[in-house]
Point group: C2
Chain length 158, copies 2
């Protein structure tokens, strides 16, 4: 029973000596994911590869069509930079992702989206691409949501 | 301070009146997901559509290549049954999925896998298909893990 009394005492003590300074307001995980999504879309519109790569978890995995899994931020970053190097002068002129079903449980979250991307090649008409994306996100030790798993496949024109 | 005393009293009361009967052992979520995976693979090997469909959440979403999202168990079930009806006499002779990165947080889980499927058409040589799968799973109110979101795309031959 010593343990029980000790616990009760600690609870009492903690209740009597509540700090009078205001507490940090609780995080709103859904708002955090919405902000993450906006940051992801804007980084693509700016074609800001370092910003996109920084949104990945160190041990994230990207699952893209007709490719083996890309495992780790380094491999994913190299892939993103290689694609950009192979498409000099191309501009992403439109990036729209309608995200659905944001689910958060502790430090883990998931959501899926329908993507429309407008791509402008140099001296050619612009092209539209349609796809779907599924994200598993993880909040890292610094409190930032990162992409843990990403998968993408093509969609018909909506 | 009434609230503080009341809380302390309740804590004390709960500590003094701990039940003496043994508690249910804690569930091992990873073992549950491994069992889920085995059930999923075996249902495919048996081509048991009702069993596959029953593994979906009522409001699950399937994200398949070159298709709009299939939303809800009813729509997903219809798609699975339609595919089977269009392939009379075909047999799934091999179904292998190497799952990776099982992550569980409360009632939510995710994992991805590399799939090889052997399909035997009637009176023709068998074919092998290669793909990747990403699952978001949710434990429903009955304690069963269900597919909340599924995405798939093709892989090169490993």
């Amino acid at each position: 029973m010593l343990t029980a009394w000790r616990s009760a005492f600690l609870v009492l003590a903690s209740l009597f000596f509540l700090p009078s300074t205001p507490q940090t307001p609780p995080a709103d995980p859904k708002a955090e994911i919405l902000a993450f999504n906006e940051k992801f879309i804007n980084a693509h519109l700016r074609m800001d590869n370092p910003a996109i790569i920084a949104m990945w978890a160190e041990d994230g995995v990207s699952l893209l069509p007709s490719m083996a899994p890309l495992a780790g931020r380094a491999a994913i970053g190299k892939f993103i930079n290689d694609i950009s190097a192979q498409m000099p002068g191309y501009k992403i002129v439109r990036e729209k992702i309608d995200f659905h079903d944001i689910r958060v449980s502790g430090d883990w979250a998931s959501e899926w989206g329908i993507e429309t991307q407008g791509l402008q090649p140099p001296n050619q008409p612009s092209m539209e691409g349609y796809g779907k994306i599924l994200f598993v996100l993880h909040k890292d030790s610094s409190g930032q949501w990162k992409i843990q798993h990403e998968m993408w496949n093509a969609s018909p024109k909506p």
